[in-house]
Symmetry: C2
């Protein structure tokens, strides 16, 4: 057996990884006036002394940003010792020039520190070249042996109102242990406007290269892929796993479980930090004819403007839920459908009209910071859960005013 | 040849159609505090003395409301002499009871006036039975020989801030003429929250029954189907064409052109009246490999929260447009793509970064009440245009507070 427990802070606990961030003046003011944690930097890095294994998942957007194209030039299974990150500029839609700019930056950085297949990750506005000179000033001031996870996590924030970092320690039965640390920013999937979620995971576990893609796919499918809100997938979305094997320990099941926990918690942090969002709602669709149909209906609910504004308005009427399922294109039948808010039945064939008492109960459930909407289609055995948030005035404000 | 020209007001110009509306107390206050035209009624009708031809298009939502199911019980090609309408209650998700309630209403109405295959159309909240007693009080007070198009158009409003009625007269070369009148409400497709758009078209043209579906499909595809915003298709959406042949005149091409004009103008009225919307934007995608791809990309733009909030913020950055196209799943290439706002080139492979001068010009275009976003994918010959509006604070307010 094994034990998984959270430990304080983030990346600094993971053996052999160094990180730091500085402010080179790309971020002239804090990105979000509501932020609770001030932002120190705008350029950051994560590095290892020796090259380590790397695995990454990228956005499905056809217009992948330059850092992603740059990454993909390396041969499969490559190792790296440096990840450079920046905020305020996505380096997206910048053409070949965007890739050349990354090469030029790494040429300069190579004068300061030994590089092996360095990679970059960016977030910010689309359509502008990186400011080479400004970013390069960071190379003189980085603390290359820093363990400054807090600063690094803050440096990649955009409209985030709090930094997102986590670390889990996994202890195996034989007494060995390993760490998984992660930082994350988003925005992105719940709040398409900022266009990007980035997540960097480091581990000292001796995970074989062959396991990395599998565990990363699985953990991402259970987390970030379930908070995707709409078609506005970013040009820059990235989830990256770096493994340096500094600990001898590894146990696949334990690693998967810990990684699942980390990415799921980070995904929920993104939702809670959703621009202007106040509520976190789980949309469970069950009784569907297939997983695909359950997923389609569940995602239709978490993406629906109609449902999101009703959540914000704390309107217990189930009509918008039912209408969204009916419009989602999945097989459904109003005589087999049931809808619950948490444990409260609010719709069934026998019980269509919401009486005052149940409306009051439903209203109480909706007042909570998080709750569950459960739609049983009553047609099969398949189920799927996705997560969404409400849509508030604040969302519109943030996204109308974003850019400068 | 023929002439098509608008004439004042709406349905009252069309020979042989009668309409009226009364308030039976379902609408206790005006539905929209911003409304410029006060609402008089909540129950209304359109009728003819003799049964007339009817053709209708309904929502693709699986959970079609009771009035739609009631309509569909009649055999193909049936004639009617009465359309009953109500606001404030959609009679949706009400099961068999919802259909029985309509039958019961028509039984009572039949005591007042001779009915032939009467049909009903409803808009409002989902999940409550119609109040039989309240609605039936209208049957005593209706002016059955009224020509009260204005009142009728107002009675079907929900969050609409102005009534929508139009009439065109068509004069043929032989001196004969016919009318097409229409009233409309919506809400629905641009503003999924209200869940419904209804449109009732009357004509005295001698249109053969066989032409009716064809012309209605064509005109709807060019209008209401192009302002559909997302998957939140209503349970009640209805476009209905009633033809009583009171005029001997008919000319298919002229009829189609006039009907296209009417439905397009009404669709634009819906967009302009979009809950909280300030701007009407046409999204033209051309140079696509197929019509389907052009349509997919165009609709992705008009549906995107990311794009809609940028429009509200009058942010000239084209990044969100490009990102949305890249995420839409159509074939695209950032080296062949160009983006224009009206006639201003704002993105091409050679011209990626927005300089201050062009940004200023773009900003001026975006300040207008309506403008065009033209994306040329540069990959083929197909094009498609759809229409959208911005997303403002007001939208969230209206949809969070709607119901009581």
């Amino acid at each position: 057996m094994f034990k998984i427990f959270p430990i304080k802070n983030g990346l600094e606990n993971v053996l052999g990884f160094y990180c730091d961030a500085v402010n080179v003046g790309m971020r002239t003011n804090s990105a979000n006036e509501n932020e609770t944690s001030p932002i120190d930097g705008d350029v950051a890095f994560i590095r290892t002394q020796e090259p380590c294994d790397i695995e990454a998942l990228f956005t499905s957007n056809t217009f992948q940003a330059a850092p992603i194209k740059h990454f993909q030039r390396y041969p499969n299974g490559f190792q790296t010792n440096f990840v450079l990150m920046n905020a305020k500029n996505a380096n997206a839609m910048t053409g070949d020039q965007g890739i050349k700019d990354i090469d030029a930056l790494f040429e300069k950085l190579g004068e300061k520190i030994s590089l092996h297949n360095p990679v970059m990750s960016s977030t910010g506005v689309i359509g502008y070249r990186l400011n080479q000179e400004k970013i390069a000033t960071a190379f003189d001031t980085f603390d290359y042996n820093g363990k400054n996870s807090d600063k690094t996590a803050r440096a990649i924030m955009t409209t985030d109102s709090f930094k997102k970092e986590l670390c889990f320690k996994v202890e195996l039965e034989n007494g060995e242990s390993f760490h998984i640390g992660a930082i994350c920013k988003g925005a992105g999937m719940i709040n398409p406007a900022m266009a990007t979620m980035l997540c960097f995971v480091t581990t000292d576990a001796s995970i074989p290269k062959d396991d990395m893609q599998e565990v990363l796919l699985e953990a991402t499918e259970q987390s970030f892929n379930r908070i995707s809100v709409d078609g506005d997938t970013s040009t820059n979305d990235t989830v990256m796993l770096l493994a340096n094997k500094k600990s001898r320990a590894y146990h696949k099941e334990a690693f998967q479980e810990a990684l699942n926990k980390i990415l799921f918690e980070l995904a929920m942090m993104i939702l809670k930090d959703g621009e202007g969002a106040n509520k976190l709602v789980a949309f469970e669709v069950k009784g569907a004819k297939s997983i695909e149909e359950a997923q389609k209906a569940s995602r239709a609910l978490s993406n629906s403007l109609l449902v999101k504004t009703a959540l914000f308005g704390e309107d217990p009427n189930w009509g918008r839920i039912a209408s969204t399922i009916g419009a989602s294109g999945v097989a459904c039948d109003d005589t087999t459908l049931t809808i619950h808010y948490d444990n409260l039945l609010i719709y069934s064939n026998e019980f269509r009209e919401l009486d005052a008492q149940r409306e009051e109960q439903a209203y109480k459930i909706m007042k909570q910071e998080s709750f569950k909407v459960i739609c049983d289609l009553g047609l099969g055995e398949a189920s799927y859960i996705s997560y969404g948030c409400d849509l508030s005035y604040e969302y519109v404000k943030i996204n109308a005013e974003y850019r400068t």
